[in-house]
């Protein structure tokens, strides 16, 4: 019965944590509505979350697009529909892989950094210091991160979509000798605004998840350097899980 108990504890803890994250999100929204917003802080976080994530996001996207083209080509070739590779790459990238992969990468990169930074601030009492200086830590620390995540994830996803489609095009046309005109036609014919904007909406939600979860984990760090490590890992794990779970529901709702 021990494992059953453990399962129960884990589940309750997970739900509780998600609830806490959600409460933190609401508080952050509340604080973000109170001027003044520290634009310099927001810019700084946008650079951290967005600009610095571009190389890894692009590399991931281009390789994903290329592999997607290669793999789907194998399948479509079997019934002479090679040009549909374009459709598959475009739809997969915009609807699913662009936002999700970008989010997972940003969660691993910027989310972890956020949790580590805030965790360190927590254990070195910098967050308390903020409070004592009448600067609300949520407003000062979380709001800029949340806004940066919300804004930069969609922008990264746009790059991811474009580069992924370009990578798929390159492989299909240059390597697999698919007719480029037909390929592009198939890409644009079947792609709709809803696919692109739906994907960006997903990215927006993922940005919120990454920022909020990472800040939550960082804020609730306990126990020195080890705690910071735990918070970092926890932030990546929890945000990845929430990204994947919410992706399902977003897909169900959006498309």
């Amino acid at each position: 019965m021990k494992w059953l108990e453990l399962l129960g504890v884990r589940t309750t803890k997970f739900i509780e944590e998600v609830g806490q994250v959600f409460l933190l999100f609401l508080q952050t929204i509340k604080w973000s509505l109170r001027p003044p917003l520290g634009f310099r802080n927001i810019l700084k976080q946008m650079e951290e979350v967005g600009v610095r994530s571009i190389p890894v996001v692009l590399i991931t996207a281009v390789s994903t697009g290329m592999v997607l083209a290669l793999q789907s080509h194998t399948g479509f070739k079997r019934f002479n529909a090679e040009s549909l590779v374009g459709t598959v790459v475009a739809l997969s990238m915009t609807r699913e892989l662009g936002p999700v992969l970008t989010a997972l990468i940003v969660a691993g990169r910027a989310g972890a950094a956020m949790a580590a930074e805030l965790g360190t601030m927590r254990v070195t009492e910098q967050i308390d210091a903020l409070s004592t200086m009448a600067a609300n830590p949520i407003k000062y620390l979380i709001v800029p991160r949340l806004l940066a995540g919300m804004l930069m994830l969609p922008i990264l996803t746009i790059f991811s979509d474009a580069i992924g489609i370009a990578g798929g095009y390159f492989v299909a046309v240059q390597v697999l000798n698919v007719n480029p005109v037909v390929y592009l036609r198939r890409t644009t014919d079947f792609l709709e605004y809803d696919d692109i904007y739906g994907g960006l909406l997903k990215a927006f939600v993922f940005g919120i998840i990454i920022a909020t979860v990472s800040c939550y984990k960082g804020f609730n760090t306990e126990g020195g350097a080890e705690g910071v490590g735990k918070a970092t890992t926890g932030a990546v794990v929890l945000s990845s899980m929430l990204i994947l779970i919410s992706d399902y529901f977003l897909t169900a709702i959006l498309f």
């Binding site: 360190t120 200086m133 600067a135």
Partner: protein
Amino acid sequence: MGEPMIQLIDLYKSFGDNRVLQGVNLTIERGETMVIIGGSGSGKSVILKHIIGLMKPDRGKVIVVGQDLSTLRERALDELRKKFGMLFQYAALFDSLMVWENVGFSLRQQTHLNDREIKQAAIEKLSMVGLRGVEDRMPADLSGGMKKRVGLARAIAMEPEILLYDEPTTGLDPIMADAINELILEMKRRLQVTGAAITHDMTSAYKIADRIAMLYQGKIQAVGTPDEIKNSSNPIVHQFVTGSSIGPIKTV
């Protein structure tokens, strides 16, 4: 003297099963420096965090300048906090900000001064704690003692009425510790602030305190002037101030 600045009334606080505060009663009067002594983990820091509203008591009241903290909303609490300055144990400087930005942090938050003015003010405060030419450095480049000074400069940036010191001399060599003690005395002299410090460093306590309170087992065991505490007949106080491992205080 005589006007109560901070009143702790029957304070209870537990963390899980750990009952840290079990009915703390303490009054700190305007202008005096109260030093709370006690063993490691005895809850001194908890008292300090209650005073500045970082923690809320399970039971009891914290009254600062006549205002019950537990009844204050966030914004009023922030208003009240502007009367405070706090020096953290490890200074708690913002790693991502330069020294002058750390010192001028409150100025940027609370005032409409521009960067240049803030920096000017920061340099002035830094000179008050005996630091020159460090304003453009990052906190990570500073030694422990310098961090404490920068922390002190930041604490006094908004010219607070109350200064809180969390273990001001811990982790410093005796000479640097004495310098910090001198600074605390100077702040009190120059800024007329009410002070509350926690420490287990008795040298520091004797030097900066107007009164000393001994916390043990969640309660204030004795309050008195340094001389009274030094000569206390209370076996707990006596054991602590003489630094003996033999006595009623259990070391484990």
